[in-house]
Amino acid sequence: MDYAANLAMTLPEVVLGLGAVALMLVSAWGGPGSTRVVSWAAVAVLFGAAIALTGPAGSGGVAFDGLYRADAFSTFAKILIYIATAVAVLMAPGFFQRTSGDDLRPEYPVLLLLSAAGMGMMVSAADLLTLYVGLELQSLSAYVLASFMRRDARSAEAGLKYFVLGALASGILLYGISLVYGFSGTTQFDGIADVYGAGRSMGLLFGLVFIFAGIAFKMSAVPFHMWTPDVYEGAPTPVTAFFASAPKVAAIGLGIRVAIEAMGPALDQWRQIVIFAALASILLGAVAAIGQSNIKRLLAYSSINNVGFALIGLAAGTPEGVAGVLTYLAIYVAMTLGSFLVVLQMRDADGQPVESIVSLSGMSRTRPALAAAMAMFMFSLAGIPPLFGFYAKFAVFDAAVKAGLFPLAAVGIAASTIGAYYYLRVVKTMYFDEPAPAFVKGDEGPLQGGLIAVAAVIVSPLGYLTIPLLGAWSIAAARALF
C-alpha cells in the first residue's frame, strides 16, 4: 500500500494535527486577541475532520502495516468525539469571560484539537503502540487543560493530581503492554488475538489485567476512579464537560477495541474484570453521589455511574452488546454536555460561577426553561422513560440479558434505583424548594441557549425517532470489530 493511501485513511488525524499546528502559530502571533478567531477556526477544523471521515478514512481498513485501523467503529466514535470537542470549544468563552483574572487564551482550542487527534488515534488503534501514543497525546493535553486557570489553586491542584495519577496509570498500562509483548511476541492486535486463542499463560493473563487496569483508569471505572471527583471539581467547567464526554468515549472505545480485537478469545478472563468494574462503578457512583453538595462532583460520580452501565454492554461481549455501548455513549454525551451547559449558566449576582446544588433552589420559578431542561437531563440520566436516556440503558441491558447475564442485569437495574435518588434530588431542589437568588443571565448571545435546546431535544421523546438510524449505524459499527 502506498503512502498516499495510508495518509488518506488517517486523514482526520492529519487534518486535526495540521490544524492544531497552524492555529498554534496564529495564536503565537495573534496573542490573546485572537481567541475568538482561533475558537471558530478550531470548530471548522473539527468539522473538516468529520468531513474527512466520509472518504477512505471512514471504512478503509488497515493502514501503516497494521498500526492503524479505519472502520465503521472508529468512525462512529470519532464523530461523537468531534461533536463533544466542538461543544467544549464553543461553551468556553462565556465561562472565562466572567471568571476574574484568567481570560480564555487561544491555547485552549488548540489543546482540545490535539486531544481530539489523540482520541482519534485511540479508537483507531490496531496496535498496542498506536494505543499508547494516542492515549498519551490525549492525556498530556488533558493535564494542561485541567490546570488551565493558572491563578486558581483548585484548578492547579486538579491538573497536578490528574497528572500524577495519570502517569501512574500509564505506567501500569505500559507494564501490561510489555508483558503481553514479551509473551506473545507481537504488539499487533490480530497477532495477540491468535496467541490468546492458542493457549493461556500466566504472563499473558497478567498483561491482560494490567492493560485493563490502565484503561479503566482512563475511563474512570471503579476501582480506578479516585481522581475523577477532584479533577472534575477543580478543572474549569467547560474542561470538566469535555472530560466527562469525549475522553470517556475514546477510553471506552479503546477498551472495546482491545477487549474484542486483541483479547476476544480470552473473553472469559476479561469478562470477570469488566463485570466487576461495571457493578462496582454503578454502585459506587450511585451511593457516593448521594452525599455530594457540589453539582460538579455530583456529575463526576454520575459519570462513573454511567461508565458502569456502558460496561455492562461490553460484558455481554456480543455485537449487540458493543452496539449497545455505542448507543449508550451517543446518548450519554448529549445528556452530560447538556447538564454541564446548564451548570455553566449558574452564576451569582457578581457573575462568578457557583457550583453548589443548593443554589439551584427554586430555579423552576426564576428560570423555568433552564430548569425544565435540567430536569429533563436529570430524569434522562436516571433512565426514566419516556426520555431518551431510558433507551440507552435499555440497549445495554437488552444485550446483557440476551447474552444470558441475568444476575448482572438484575443487580445493575436495581442499583439504578439508587442512582435515581440523587438525580431526583436535583429536580427536587429546582422544583420543590423555595427560590434562592436567581442566576444572572449571561450575555454570550444565543449560542449556549441554543446548544442546551439541542441537547434537550435529543433527550426528549423526540429522540426515539432517531432510533432506526442510530440502531443501524451502531450495529454496523459493532460488526466491524467481530
Binding site: I384, P385, D398, F406
Partner: protein
C-alpha cells in the same frame, strides 16, 4: 385521543393561569367525548382487539395501539375522572397553575397510552413515564411532608418496574416478538414462568398496592393535592390490576396457578390488617388510603380466582373503587378547602349545616362499604363468590374485611357528619357550591348505574374474560371446597375444612 391532551399540555405551559384552566378543561372534555364515541363504536362480541393502530417500529418497540374490553373500560374511567380532577383543582390550586394543568394532561396521555399499548415496551414506556408528572404533582403542590412522600412514591414504584423490565427483555428475546397479543399466546417453560411472574409481580404488587409494599400509598395520598389523590386512587392503582390481567395471567398461566396461594395470603392479610389500621386513623385521607389497599386486595383475590365471577368481579371492583374512592377523596377535599385540616376530630355535625354534602358523602360511604344497589356491592359479591370456589378460607377472611370496612367507614361518617357542632369554625362552613355539586353528582350517578344495571359494564369484557379463561383453564388450582362427585366421603376426609362449606354456601 392521545394527541389532544398532549397538545393541550404543551399549550398550557405558555398560557396564563385562567387560560390554562379552561384549556385543560376543554381538552379533557373532548377526550371524554371521544371516549364515549369509542364506547359506542366498540363492537361487543366482535374481534378481541379493536381500533388497532400500527405505526412505525423504532428499533425495539412499535407504536402499536389497540384495545379490548378491559382496556376500554379503564380508559373510560380515566377520561371520566379527568375533567372532574381539573374541576376539583379549579380554585384550590392557585400557584403555578399552567404547570399543574400540563402535568395533569400529561398524566392523562400516559394513562390512556398504558391501557391502549399493544407492545410490551410501549406499555413499559407509558407505565413508567407516569411517574414523572405524578412525582411533580405530589412534590410541588402537595402538603407539608410532600418531599418525603414524593420520593417514596417514585423510588418504590421505580424499583418494582425495573425488575419487570428485565423480565420483559428476556421475554422479547426468547419469544422473538414484543407484541402483547402474540406473547399472550406464547408458552414459556414452566420454571421460567415462575421467575418472570415474580418479576412482574414485583412491579404490579407495588403499583396495586398489595401488603406489605403498600406503605407508599398512604403517604402519597395524604400529601398529594385533592385531584392528585383522585387520579392516584382512581386510575394509577388500576394499572397494577390491569397488569395482572394483561400480563401475569395470560402470559404465565402455570406460574399464576402455582403462586395463587401467595396472592391469596397477601390479600387476606391486606384486607384484615389494613382495615384494622384504617379504624384507628385520625387523618381522613389516610383512612381512605388504607381502605383503598383493602379494596385492591379484593381485586387481586378476584383476579386469581381463575373463574368468570372472580375476574369480572375484580374488574367491576376496579371501576367501582376508582369512582368511589375518587369521590371520597373529593369529599375530603371539599371540607379541606374550607377548614384546611384533614383531622377527623376537628369536624363533627356537618349534616346540620351542610345537608347536601352529608347526603352525597353518605352515599359514597355506603358505596365503599358495598351496600346493595351501589357498584361496590356488585363488585365485592362477584369477586368473593369467585374466590369462594377456589378457597373458602380466603373468602371467609376477606368477608370479615367487608364487615371491618363497614365499621371504619361508618365510624368515619359518624364522627364527621353526626353529633353536635362543637366549634365555631365548623359552624361557619358553607354547603356545596354548584361547582362541587357538579363534580360529585356525575360520579354518584355512575355508581348507581353500575350498581343497578352492571350489565352495561360487564358486556364489553365478557368475551375477553372468556378468552382469558380459556387460556388459563389448564392451570386452575384445585379448589379446596368442592368434593369430587361420587366420592364425597374421601374428598371430605382430604379437605378438613369441607364440613363447613354447606353452611357457608347458602
Amino acid at each position: 385521543m392521545l394527541a389532544i391532551p398532549a397538545i393541550a399540555a404543551v399549550a398550557c405551559l405558555f398560557l396564563s393561569a385562567n387560560a390554562a384552566r379552561w384549556t385543560a378543561l376543554i381538552a379533557t372534555f373532548i377526550d371524554l367525548a371521544l371516549g364515549i364515541v369509542l364506547w359506542t363504536q366498540f363492537d361487543i362480541g366482535g374481534p378481541q382487539w379493536q381500533f388497532v393502530e400500527q405505526g412505525v417500529r423504532l428499533g425495539f418497540f412499535g407504536w402499536d395501539l389497540g384495545i379490548d374490553g378491559f382496556a376500554l373500560l379503564l380508559i373510560m374511567l380515566s377520561v371520566f375522572l379527568m375533567p372532574i380532577c381539573i374541576g376539583a383543582s379549579w380554585r384550590s390550586v392557585t400557584n403555578r397553575v399552567p404547570e399543574y394543568m400540563a402535568a395533569f394532561l400529561l398524566t392523562e396521555v400516559l394513562m390512556i397510552g398504558t391501557f391502549a399499548a399493544q407492545d410490551l415496551f410501549l406499555f413499559y414506556l407509558f407505565f413508567e413515564a407516569g411517574l414523572i408528572p405524578m412525582y411533580l404533582i405530589i412534590g410541588i403542590w402537595g402538603g407539608a411532608n410532600r418531599i418525603y412522600a414524593s420520593y417514596k412514591f417514585f423510588l418504590y414504584t421505580l424499583l418494582g418496574s425495573l425488575l419487570m423490565l428485565v423480565a420483559m427483555l428476556y421475554m422479547a428475546g426468547t419469544a422473538g416478538t414484543s407484541s402483547i397479543p402474540a406473547l399472550q399466546a406464547y408458552d414459556f417453560p414452566a420454571d421460567v414462568q415462575t421467575w418472570l411472574w415474580l418479576a412482574f409481580f414485583a412491579s404490579f404488587a407495588v403499583k396495586m398496592p398489595m401488603w406489605p409494599v403498600h406503605t407508599w400509598l398512604p403517604d402519597a395520598h395524604v400529601q398529594a393535592p385533592t385531584a392528585g389523590s383522585v387520579i392516584l386512587a382512581g386510575v394509577l392503582l388500576k394499572l397494577g390490576g390491569y397488569g395482572f390481567l394483561r400480563f401475569s395471567l395470560p402470559m404465565f398461566p402455570e406460574a399464576s396457578g402455582q403462586l395463587t396461594w401467595l396472592i391469596f395470603a397477601l390479600s387476606a392479610v391486606a384486607v384484615i390488617y389494613t382495615s384494622l389500621v384504617a379504624l384507628v386513623q385520625a387523618d381522613m385521607k389516610k383512612l381512605i388510603a388504607y381502605s383503598s389497599v383493602a379494596h385492591m386486595a379484593i381485586v387481586t383475590i378476584g383476579l386469581f380466582a381463575f373463574n368468570r365471577q372472580g375476574i369480572e368481579g375484580a374488574m367491576v371492583m376496579m371501576l367501582s373503587h376508582g369512582l368511589v374512592s375518587g369521590a371520597l377523596f373529593l369529599c375530603v377535599g371539599v371540607i379541606y378547602d374550607r377548614l384546611h385540616t384533614r383531622e377527623i376530630a376537628r369536624y363533627g355535625g356537618l349534616s346540620i349545616n351542610m345537608p347536601r354534602y352529608a347526603i352525597l358523602f353518605l352515599f359514597f360511604t355506603m358505596a365503599s362499604i358495598g351496600l346493595p344497589g351501589t357498584s361496590g356491592f356488585v363488585a365485592e359479591f362477584l369477586a368473593l363468590m369467585g374466590a369462594y370456589q377456589i378457597s373458602t378460607w380466603t373468602a371467609l377472611l376477606c368477608t370479615t374485611g367487608i364487615i371491618l370496612g363497614a365499621a371504619y367507614m361508618l365510624y368515619l361518617y359518624r364522627r364527621i357528619a353526626y353529633g353536635e357542632i362543637t366549634s365555631d369554625e365548623v359552624r361557619g362552613m358553607s354547603d356545596l357550591s354548584t361547582r362541587e355539586l357538579w363534580l360529585l353528582a356525575p360520579i354518584a350517578a355512575v355508581v348507581l348505574w353500575m350498581g343497578v344495571y352492571p350489565e352495561s359494564f360487564m358486556a364489553p369484557m365478557r368475551k375477553d374474560v372468556a378468552v382469558l379463561l380459556q387460556r388459563i383453564d389448564r392451570a386452575t388450582p384445585v379448589s379446596d371446597s368442592r368434593p369430587t362427585a361420587g366420592n364425597p366421603a374421601a374428598a371430605a376426609a382430604q379437605a378438613p375444612e369441607h364440613h363447613e362449606t354447606p353452611g357457608e354456601a347458602h
